[in-house]
């Protein structure tokens, strides 16, 4: 993981897309097998009863991936300030998700050098989650 600096970031910079494969096992392990969660995360039939086409991918697994995606891009001296997402469509386990992102703003805010990114997960080319992430980057000088 390399460090990114505030001065070097430009609006419209794009992050390299990455692919994730959510599975029912991954969803269960994320929350812990002994912890109660939505049965639809592990059970395709329960997902179908909810109106989803199979086991539901937890939103919190996707937001965790988005958080990691931006943190990896920003580097170890960066500090994640916040993330806000809208889950537009449910995702179904075993269907790959592509994470993509782009810089939409950079600003100084209360002495911090903030870069804002738009991040999305794409399933079959269509966005299923859209979000904005704010990250504080160090300056070179």
């Amino acid at each position: 993981m390399s460090q990114r600096y505030f001065e070097d970031v430009k609006i419209d910079d794009e992050l390299d897309p990455i692919e994730k494969l959510p599975t029912a096992d991954l969803a269960t392990d994320f929350f812990g097998r002994d912890n109660p969660t939505n049965p639809a995360f592990a059970d395709a039939e329960a997902g179908k009863r909810l109106g989803v086409g199979g086991a539901l991918v937890p939103g919190m697994l996707k937001i965790a991936w988005m958080t990691q995606y931006v943190s990896d891009w920003a580097g170890p001296a960066a500090s994640l300030q916040g993330i806000r997402v809208a889950y537009r469509r449910p995702d179904v386990a075993d269907r790959p998700l592509t994470l993509s992102g782009r810089v939409v703003d950079k600003r100084e805010e209360a002495g911090k050098h903030i870069v804002e990114l738009e991040v999305a997960t794409l399933a079959g080319g269509e966005p299923s989650v859209r979000g904005n992430v704010q990250v504080e980057l160090p300056k070179r000088s």
Binding site: F30, G32, G59, A64, S71, S79, Q81, G82, R84
Partner: protein
């Protein structure tokens, strides 16, 4: 140009609209907005942080064993718990919006005070879930000195799967 509506058509439309517009949200539901919960103690557990980190494949050295720092998404460990104050108007719910804010990194083993409230409750007609209720709750996390550490805002869309299915047919 569409044909003019007859009185019968108008009555039918009127009945259908009034049925659809009948609010599912009561004064008792609205009264929960802004009422803060008693603080609940939550712990940033190393086992949660390590498990989540490993499941998502996070290799960030800041969150490696022994650093004492937990990744921000460990906040998800508290997100699955039902908010006792939150009204459940319809039988099913899906997470539709979420926000996390971080004032500082989480430290392994630290105990935080979580204070929750219903932030907003409103309803929506039409769309994928038919007549649905959007419930937004917020939780703020404070450390032992009363300093703010993080906040989470969550919107659950509550719906009746039977109604949603009927709408889509």
């Amino acid at each position: 140009m569409s044909p003019a509506a007859t009185p019968d058509m108008l009555r039918l439309r009127g009945d259908s609209v009034s049925e659809e517009l009948q609010s599912l949200i009561t004064d008792a539901h609205r009264a929960t907005i802004g009422v803060k919960s008693e603080p609940v103690t939550v712990t940033i557990r190393e086992e949660d942080a390590r498990r989540m980190r490993d499941v998502i494949g996070d290799k960030d050295a800041r969150y490696a064993d022994g650093t004492g720092i937990a990744p921000p998404y460990v906040i998800a460990a508290f997100g699955g718990r039902p908010n006792r104050m939150a009204p459940f108007v319809l039988p099913n719910g899906l997470l539709t919006q979420q926000e996390w804010k971080f004032t500082r990194p989480f430290r392994m083993g630290e105990k935080l005070q979580a204070v929750s409230q219903v932030f907003d409750i409103r309803e929506r007609l039409g769309g994928r879930y038919g007549h649905s209720v959007l419930l937004t709750t917020s939780t703020d996390y404070y450390d032992g000195d009363g300093n703010h550490v993080a906040a989470a805002l969550t919107t659950i869309t509550q719906f009746d799967p039977k109604r949603a299915q009927e709408k889509s047919e």
